[in-house]
Each structure stands twice: as C-alpha cells, then as structure tokens.
C-alpha cells in the first residue's frame, strides 16, 4: 500500500467511525423529563443522546456566553434567552426540519415572542409559575389553621418566617425570580427595570434571610418530600413532583402548591440550539422529537409542568390538564406577571444585591 492509499483508508475509516457514533448533547434542567423519552429518541433515530442537567439559568448563561459549551440543545428561561440571543449565542431554527411545528400552541408562542421575536431561535418546552410549596400539617402546626399558604405574606413577613424557621424554609437561589416576588409583595412593579425600584427588594429579602435555611434551586424537591422543610419558594412543577414523591413514599407528608394570590411570575423554558453546536442537524431532530404531541404529553405527565404544545393536550392525564396549578384557569392567568431581562447595569446591581442578601453582609 502506498502512503496515499493508507492515508485515504485512514480518513475513510475515521469518518465512517464518526458517522456511526453520531451523537447529540442536550443540556436541560434537573428533574425535567421522563427519562424513557431519552431511550425512545435513541431507538427512533439511532443517535446517541448525551443528557446533562443544570439547576441555574446563571450557570447556563455563563456557558453560553463563554462559548464552546459542546451542547447541541440547551433550555434557558425566557428572560435569559432574550439576553443570550442579543449576545449572539444561538442559531436561528431551520423550520423546514421541524415538521411538528404545527403542534405548537399560539397562546404560548404569542407570549414567548416577547423574549424571542417571531420565535426564530427557540421553541417552548415547558412553562409554569413560581410560588409557594407548603407542608400543610407542619405549617398549620406553626402558624395556626389560618396560615396564609397562598400569599406572599407567608414568606416575606418576618413574623411568619421567624416561626417557620423552626420547621425549615428554602428559597430559590435565583435573583431573577426572588427579586420580582419581593417587589410584588411591597406593591412595586415586579418587572421594573429601574435600579431604584429594584433596590427596594433588598430590605424585604434581608429581613427574612436569617430565617431561610438554604438558598438552592433543586434540593427543595427532596427536602419537601422527606419533610425536612415545611416551606419552599420554588417552581410549580418541582413542588408538585415533591407532592407526588411524598405520596409515593406514603410518609404522611402532604404538600400543596399555590401561586401567590398577589400575583405570580409566569416563566417559559425554551429549547434553543447554540450557534456553535457540534451537531445542529441532530439538534433539530431532537427538537422535532420533543414537539411530537405524544412525547411532549409524556414529559408533562411526568414532570407536572404545562407545555406549549397544543396537540399534546389530548394526551395529557386529567391530573395534569385538569389541575389549575399546572394549567391555570382564565382568572389565575390574569394574575400572572412576566419578567423581562434587566439591562447590564441593573443586572449587576441585582446580582450584587443577591450575593449580599445570601451572605448576610
């Protein structure tokens, strides 16, 4: 064999090896999919799926802005998506490769267009609200039968929190969720982009901080379910998952989720393809797979979050589509607010305030 043919053979061998081992890397939130879907995708497409999880938008954004994350599909929340689109982190979706696009729900697409105009870069995966998860028995034991479990008063009134500290309270470690909630509590605009208004959240948060056991964005599912804590300010579906884990464990823990009556944040988690994705072709296949009505329904039935897929609704179980905590009725929907991305200077103030609140200095 001459050197030339040897090289050629080597190249052919290498490229065919690459073709066999086609893979797609997905970076999604923790506890956010029915894992059977992952195997189903691999069986249907023959593509190796590498599935990693995160629990913080901030961490995802750091990876997106640094570039070269190696992921093909990522799932930022709307306000973060908007900023990352502006920074040039994503590639426009090739709609011709998304044959299931007609399944999407225009009601949700209208709302997500505020973050991603015309939904050019992303599709909605799930959406939900941020609110209060409570261990009913324990909270009543501490605060009495008329405990305000559906009000921000429960978590932002220092008197209530001082008592709840006995049985444990977790807050999300997410300034973009906690600051708007604190502003809502004192009657300010939660979506304010004014640094002076945002600053008003600090005393509210500082006053209750000593009574917060931990700031964490995923551990509260298990902590609530085990009865280690009695209140968590967290994401709707996560708290409903805690409710179900407790019911399965049959440990006498009863968890309820309430969107605060003063108003709750409505958020949208969007699937997008990074501009430097190694395998955008497979990424589109993954998105199209997720957009299939039955697959999306399976995911929602599993994680108790509403999705942006109209066609999936006929496959949803009654305790998902019929639960107003997941698919809010018209009245609750009126009470939900959204939060857009802060401009850089306000963002710096907001995150700095958060660091201070958490470290207690």
């Amino acid at each position: 064999m001459t050197l030339k043919t040897m090289t050629l053979t080597a190249i052919v061998a290498l490229s065919s090896a690459a073709a066999v081992a086609e893979e797609v890397r997905v970076y999604n939130w923790s506890d956010y999919i029915d894992e059977d879907l992952l195997t189903k995708f691999e069986e249907e497409t023959g593509i190796d799926l590498i599935y990693d999880v995160f629990d913080s938008n901030e961490l995802l954004e750091t990876k997106m802005l640094a570039g070269g994350s190696g992921y093909d599909v990522v799932v930022p929340t709307g306000s973060f998506l908007a900023r990352q689109i502006q920074a040039g982190a994503f590639q426009p979706l090739d709609k011709s490769k998304l044959s299931n696009a007609a399944n999407m729900w225009e009601v949700i697409e209208d709302r997500t267009a505020r973050y991603d105009p015309d939904n050019v870069y992303s599709i909605n995966y799930m959406w939900g609200t941020t609110g209060i998860g409570a261990n009913l028995a324990k909270v009543k034991e501490v605060l009495g039968d008329d405990a305000p479990i559906d009000s921000l008063d429960l978590v932002f009134n220092p008197d209530n929190m001082a008592k709840l500290a006995e049985c444990g309270v977790y807050f999300l470690d997410a300034p973009d969720e906690m600051i708007p909630a604190a502003l809502k509590y004192i009657g300010e605009d939660p979506n304010s982009m004014d640094a002076d208004v945002v600053a008003k959240a600090e005393p509210v948060l500082t006053a209750v901080r000593p009574h917060v056991k931990k700031f964490h964005s995923s551990e509260y599912i298990n902590a609530l379910a085990n009865g280690d804590i009695c209140v968590a300010f967290g994401w709707s579906g996560d708290i409903l998952q805690a409710r179900d884990r407790a019911a399965e464990a049959d440990n006498g823990v009863e968890i309820v989720y309430n969107a605060p009556k003063e108003g709750a944040l409505m958020w949208f988690d969007q699937m997008a393809i990074p501009v430097d994705a190694p395998n955008p072709e497979a990424a589109h296949k993954f998105l199209n797979f997720i957009m299939e009505a039955q697959n999306m329904a399976a995911a929602s039935n599993y994680v108790y979050y509403a999705n942006g897929n109209k066609a999936s609704q006929e496959f949803l179980e009654e305790d998902v589509i019929g639960d107003p905590a997941i698919y809010p009725n018209e009245e609750t929907l009126q009470n939900l607010y959204i939060k857009e991305a802060y401009p850089p200077k306000v963002q710096r103030k907001a995150t700095r305030m958060w660091t201070k609140v958490k470290s207690g200095t």
Binding site: G67, R83, Q86, T355, T361
Partner: protein
C-alpha cells in the same frame, strides 16, 4: 555559553507561558466592561481598530468598584482569618503526628508515611462528600454522640464554619506533616541527649532544641497550607453555610452566577497580589535554608 542560555531560558519560557500570559489576559479582562456579548465583556481586541483604540477603552473602574462595596474586603479579611486559623489548627494536629512518625522505629516509618499519603489516592471531592455524610444532622458523628448519650439533640456542624475548618485541616494536614517530618527525621538525636545531660527537662529540650531545629519544616508546612487555603473554593461551598464568606466563593459567584467576568477578574488580580506576599516570604525562607545547608 549557548547551552547555558538555553538552560536558563526554559524555566523562564515556562513561567511566561503558564503564568505571565494567563495573568495578562485576566488583567486585561479586569480592565474592560461587562457586556451582553460572547464572551461577555467589552472591548475585545480588534486588529482593525488597532491597539490604541483598544487601550483607550480600558479603565480601572472594576477595581474602584471593589473598594466601594464592602462585600469584597470583608470576604478577603474573612478568607485571611480562616486561612490563619486553619493553618494554626493544622500545625497543632500535624506537628505531633510528624513527631510521632519521626520517633517511630525505623521499620514502621514507610508504613506510617503510606498511611498519610494513602487518602490522596481517592478523589478529593469524594473525601469532602464523605465529610458531609459524617457531619450532617443525621450523620455518623451525631448518631454516634446520641448513641453514647453525650448529647440529646443533634449538633449542627454541617454548613457552619466549624465544618469548613474540619474540612481544611483534614485536606491539608499531609502538606503540614511531610515537611515537618523530613526536618525532624534529619534531627541529630545526640543534640537532645546533650541538652538533657546539661540539665534540660524533656519538655525544655523539646522546646529549646527540637522546635528550633524543625523551624524550617514548620514554616514550609505553614505556607503550603496557608497559600491554597486562602483561595479555597470547594470546601467552603460544600461544607460551609451561606454565611461562610470566602473570596474563592465570591470569585465563583461573580463568574458563574453574576456573569460579570471583569469584576471576577479584578477580584482574582487582587487575590493574586495578596498571595504574592506569602509566596515571596516562602521563597526567601527556602533560600535561606539552602544557604544555611551549604
């Protein structure tokens, strides 16, 4: 002549490529502004605009910011305090162990040395996770103490500074033991005999002869513990609570949670300046020791 030049040049090239160049990059980012871009700072170097326009955009604003916000100096001070206390605690634990090893019969020493080094074969992270299991409210330590009847309700150790000290002392004490051991092992036993013959009690001999002669080892061990502890991130974030303030953690937050690379870089530059002082002292100590030996 040429050979000598090459020999000298190699370590300098090493230093240039692995220390100075990365430092220059970090320093440059510290002088820029946070921006919504990829990567998230501005200005980025652009050959078309030229170096003049690029330099004009840089300023010390981020360093000014560090002085205005008391979070940072509190974090630096708190890190210094934690590093000092843990170095002292490590010395307290490490010296007797090193002393015992050096006094042990010759044939035991390799085994004892092995026991000190053995934990390094397990991942550092797993060892810290193990401490989480030991120290938590339902952990082994509390179960044991309740079983013995010493306490009725579990002690809260995990997520406090105490847990951080335990973690640091555990992780770094081999760095303390090894240099002290090597100093003590070389110690001439006849000097202590002489001291005792001349009327010293055993304690006096230890204080007046053994300690001064192992001084170099103590100093080396202290620096080896102090320097990495100052910038420690993993131990405080896994074992510490939300009120454990350490600069390594603040740096991580700036970078990953706040996505503010310029401020994170400024924090890193100041941390490096803080570290240079003990490193230079350490170097001088090593040099003096070498000279003394020659």
């Amino acid at each position: 002549m040429m050979r000598r030049f090459v020999l000298i040049a190699i370590p300098y090239l090493w230093l240039l490529a692995l220390f100075l160049v990365p430092f220059a990059i970090v320093f440059k980012i510290a002088l820029s502004d946070a921006a919504i871009a990829r990567p998230p700072y501005f200005p980025q170097f652009d050959w078309v605009e030229g170096i003049g326009a690029f330099l004009a955009e840089l300023d010390f604003e981020n360093f000014v910011w560090l002085t205005e916000d008391d979070l940072y100096w509190k974090a630096y001070l708190s890190s210094l305090r934690i590093a000092f206390i843990s170095t002292f605690l490590t010395l307290l634990v490490g010296y007797p162990m090193a002393y015992g090893m050096a006094r042990a019969p010759e044939e035991w020493r390799p085994t004892l040395m092995m026991l000190v080094i053995l934990p390094f074969w397990t991942s550092f992270l797993i060892r810290v996770y193990a401490w989480m299991g030991i120290l938590s409210n339902e952990g082994l330590l509390n179960q044991f103490l309740i079983w013995t009847g010493l306490i009725d309700s579990p002690l809260t150790i995990l997520n406090t500074n105490t847990a951080v000290y335990i973690g640091i002392v555990y992780t770094y004490f081999p760095f303390m033991i090894l240099p002290i051991y090597s100093a003590l092992e070389r110690l001439d036993g006849s000097l202590i005999e002489a001291a005792e013959d001349l009327g010293c009690s055993r304690l006096q001999a230890f204080w007046l002869v053994t300690i001064p002669l192992s001084r170099a080892g103590i100093i080396a061990g202290c620096f080896l513990v102090f320097i990495p502890t100052l910038g420690e991130f993993v131990i405080p974030s896994l074992l510490g609570g939300s009120d454990t303030l350490m600069i390594g953690k603040v740096l991580w937050e700036e970078f990953f949670s706040n996505r503010d690379w310029p401020v994170a870089s400024a924090v890193a530059v100041v941390l490096l300046l803080l570290l240079i002082v003990p490193i230079v002292l350490f170097q001088r100590n090593q040099q003096k020791q070498q000279e003394a030996e020659q």
